[in-house]
């Protein structure tokens, strides 16, 4: 039967195929594999977009119509979508398909996780009163575009560190890691990606604050989720400023891009599963 979960299932497989193609390109330097990777990634995004639209439609058929952005499952699916789109745009702009070998597995693993975790509520459920707000939609969209970019930045950070390892160990140009883009290019891409993510994260925190103020009369209450989002924001602000001071070379920025994403991850998962707070709706 054609429903949104079925489409997300197909999407997962196509992301896997795209990842395999990119990895094949990384290992064998076969240009056709890279082209296949991009084609598959775009195909997966199209299917996923249809799936998201369909899920939205399904919610209206159940008479509780709302954008598919309101629980953990839906937000993971949306995150995978954002990361994949961000990556494809990055590849089209900068033409470095090797990065796909490190980044394309992110949407694949995310979607695979949503189908494996049995505790993740996948049904479309009605919204409790506090969640019925357009600010919530704006909040989730802006945050997840940012998270998608930060995921890609962390992938780039790892590539940077591997490349650096290859350079310092003087691996030959023939070796696997010799295929990776050069450090300057990577550093520039990490910076650009973080800038993009930072813009959206800031917008995400702001829309969240406005929503909280409309619903509860406090724009900031230091609940664990809010606090972790500001911690993430501080880490990326630090990363941006670290560039101005000498001594903070590319590898530290690369580490920070990884640390930043760990913080994103914690904001997203850790808070729901390990700590208590207002946003615990995501855990249901």
């Amino acid at each position: 039967m054609m429903n949104s979960s079925y489409l997300f299932g197909i999407t997962t497989i196509v992301y896997l195929l795209a990842s395999v193609s990119y990895i094949a390109f990384f290992v064998f330097r076969n240009k056709t594999a890279a082209r296949a990777g991009l084609g598959l990634a775009i195909f997966a995004i199209l299917i996923q977009t249809t799936g998201l639209g369909l899920r939205w439609h399904e919610s209206y058929q159940l008479g509780i119509g709302h954008a598919p952005l309101t629980n953990m499952y839906e937000s993971l699916v949306f995150f995978a979508w954002c990361a994949a789109i961000f990556y494809v745009l990055l590849e089209i702009k900068f033409k470095l398909p090797i990065i796909g070998a490190f980044v394309m597995p992110i949407p694949f693993l995310t979607l695979a996780y949503t189908s494996l975790d049995k505790d993740l509520g996948k049904e479309i459920s009605p919204l409790i009163p506090a969640l019925q707000s357009n600010w919530l939609i704006a909040h989730v969209i802006t945050c997840f575009i940012g998270y998608g970019a930060f995921a890609v930045a962390a992938g780039l950070g790892i590539i940077y560190l591997l490349r650096q390892l290859a350079d310092t160990r003087k691996f030959s140009q023939e070796s696997l890691l010799g295929n990776l883009p050069d450090l300057r290019t990577l550093d520039d891409l990490i910076h650009k990606t973080i800038i993009f993510g930072f813009m959206w994260l800031s917008a995400g925190i702001i829309t969240g604050a406005v929503w909280a103020n409309e619903a509860w009369g406090t724009y900031w209450s230091w609940d664990p989720k809010e606090t972790w989002s500001i911690i993430t924001w501080f880490i990326y602000a630090l990363t941006l400023h670290a560039r101005f001071t000498r001594g903070w070379n590319g590898s530290r920025i690369a580490w920070l891009s990884v640390l930043g994403f760990i913080s994103v991850f914690f904001t997203y998962f850790g808070v729901n599963y390990l700590l208590a707070g207002l946003h615990s709706y995501g855990a249901s």
């Binding site: 009163p129 506090a130 800031s202 702001i206 009369g217 724009y219």
Partner: protein, 459 residues
């Protein structure tokens, strides 16, 4: 910036190194408050963390760490760093924005990376005119100055974008200022005027009104509102699966006896009056029956006291009528039983209606000119969160400024184009030189299109 020897304390306070340190400290210490639950009673910490750790938690104020002295000091130091850094750098930026770019030595400019030379078979003066006209046509309004061996033209775009970073920095200070202005603690301890900014709540039974609310900071403290608020009704709407769909309260604001404003509030749809905002936050069952009339066509609701002894006359605006409970019967049922009531009811039109209504189950009553929903159920009290935050507009303005500033700082650039018109071997020659402070690749493309276009048109 360069000439004046800097005071070392100032230099330290203005440094990005300090900023990195403070951002790192803020990020890492903030974690503590997400692990140790905040604002719990003292016993909670002893139970969760043991007496030794509970002592540390208490002495470092970790149970309310985001309001603790040391954390506020950290935020203060951060603001100071941000302010001083910006004050320190701003004059330099103003100078760069206002700089006279025509004083530049053409020979120096010709050493820059981004350039394109075009030879034109025409007089030097004519070519100068052509170049100026070309730049203007393409949106680059150029100024010019005579140089030793020719004429230098200059045009720029986006010089103001250099202020983008400072807009971001100022926006952070604006947001923090807004937080201070709206802080109940500041209003109470520093301004000694708790009415200036507060956060509180009130549990208001249906049909009752209040002109005071309870501040969350000092629970025993009640604050005057300066006007009266009345709860007309409270209602919960459920989804088919039993989940609450919406909480609604009908509120009326009164000044003295005069009704000023009536509004239905929901979660996410508060009522604002005179800087005070009322949010739907909870409700309470008063465990006392009331009779609810709702005119289905106008939506007008009337609450009547439950009186089994006598006839109750009711009036609500232009609507009026009478209601009597004629009989009450207990009815057994699977889930504990309930009650059934025989009602005699009329409004201003037509003969009275009689019907039976079960507890908590609405009945539709058709009258000649109106349709009523009649329900007997428990009386509710609506739980309102009430706050007054005069700083919130500072916060919102700061947020808007931050987004504009970030966009400017990240995605816009200051672009400059010089055109040096001179003669070489008796031929007029235009050397275009370009420079951008960001996105140099993108600018190089624009520059190539602009200058090659000139070459095509004039050679």
């Amino acid at each position: 910036m360069a000439a004046k020897a800097k005071n070392p304390v100032w230099a330290f306070l203005a440094s990005v190194h300090l900023a990195l340190l403070l951002l790192g400290l803020l990020a890492s210490t903030s974690i503590i408050g997400t692990i140790i639950q905040q604002n719990k009673p003292a016993e909670h910490y002893v139970q969760t963390w043991g007496p030794a750790k509970a002592k540390i938690i208490q002495s470092l104020n970790l149970a309310d760490m985001y309001n603790s002295g040391w954390f506020l000091c950290l935020l203060g130091a951060f603001s100071l760093n941000l302010a001083i850094c910006s004050i320190d750098r701003l004059p330099g930026v103003v100078r760069v924005v206002r700089m006279d770019n025509l004083t530049r030595d053409p020979e120096q400019l010709l050493k820059m990376k981004l350039q394109h030379q075009v030879q034109v078979n025409d007089s030097h003066e004519a070519v100068s005119k052509l170049a100026t006209a070309w730049l203007t046509r393409k949106g680059w309004k150029a100024a010019s100055r005579n140089k030793e061996n020719g004429l230098l033209l200059f045009a720029q775009k986006g010089a103001w974008t250099r202020y983008g970073v400072y807009a971001v920095h100022i926006s952070i200070l604006t947001i923090l200022l807004g937080a201070i202005i709206g802080s109940p603690t500041v209003a109470e301890k520093i301004l000694h005027n708790p009415q200036f900014a507060f956060k509180g709540g009130v549990l208001l039974p249906e049909q009752r009104s209040t002109n005071r609310i309870f501040s969350y900071d000092e629970e025993e403290h009640s604050l005057p509102l300066g006007f009266t608020v009345r709860c007309n009704f409270f209602d919960i709407d459920f989804y088919d699966n039993g989940m609450p769909k919406e909480f609604v309260s009908g509120l009326t604001i009164l000044e003295g006896d005069k009704e000023i404003l009536t509004k239905e509030i929901e979660v996410n749809k508060p009522l604002k009056y005179k800087g005070v905002t009322f949010y739907q936050s909870s409700y309470n069952d008063m465990r006392k029956p009331v009779i609810r009339l709702k005119n289905v066509s106008t939506g007008q609701r009337t609450l009547l006291p439950f009186n089994s002894e006598a006839t109750t006359a009711w009036q609500n605006g232009a609507e009026q009528g009478m209601l009597r409970i004629q009989d009450i019967r207990e009815i057994p049922s699977a889930n504990g039983g309930g009650a059934e009531f025989d009602i005699w009811f009329m409004d201003s039109q037509g003969p009275p209606s009689t019907f039976t209504v079960r507890y908590n189950t609405p009945v539709l009553v058709e009258r000649p000119t109106a349709k009523y929903e009649v329900k007997i159920s428990s009386q509710y009290a609506t739980g309102l969160q009430v706050s007054k935050d005069p700083g919130v507009w500072w916060v919102y303005s700061g947020c808007a400024l931050m987004l504009l500033g970030l966009y400017t700082a990240f995605f816009m650039s200051h672009r400059k184009i010089w055109a040096y018109v001179h003669e070489e071997n008796g031929q007029a020659k235009v050397a275009f030189i370009g420079q951008a402070n960001k996105n140099s690749l993108g600018f190089a493309k624009t520059f190539a299109r602009l200058t090659e276009g000139f070459g095509k048109e004039h050679t």
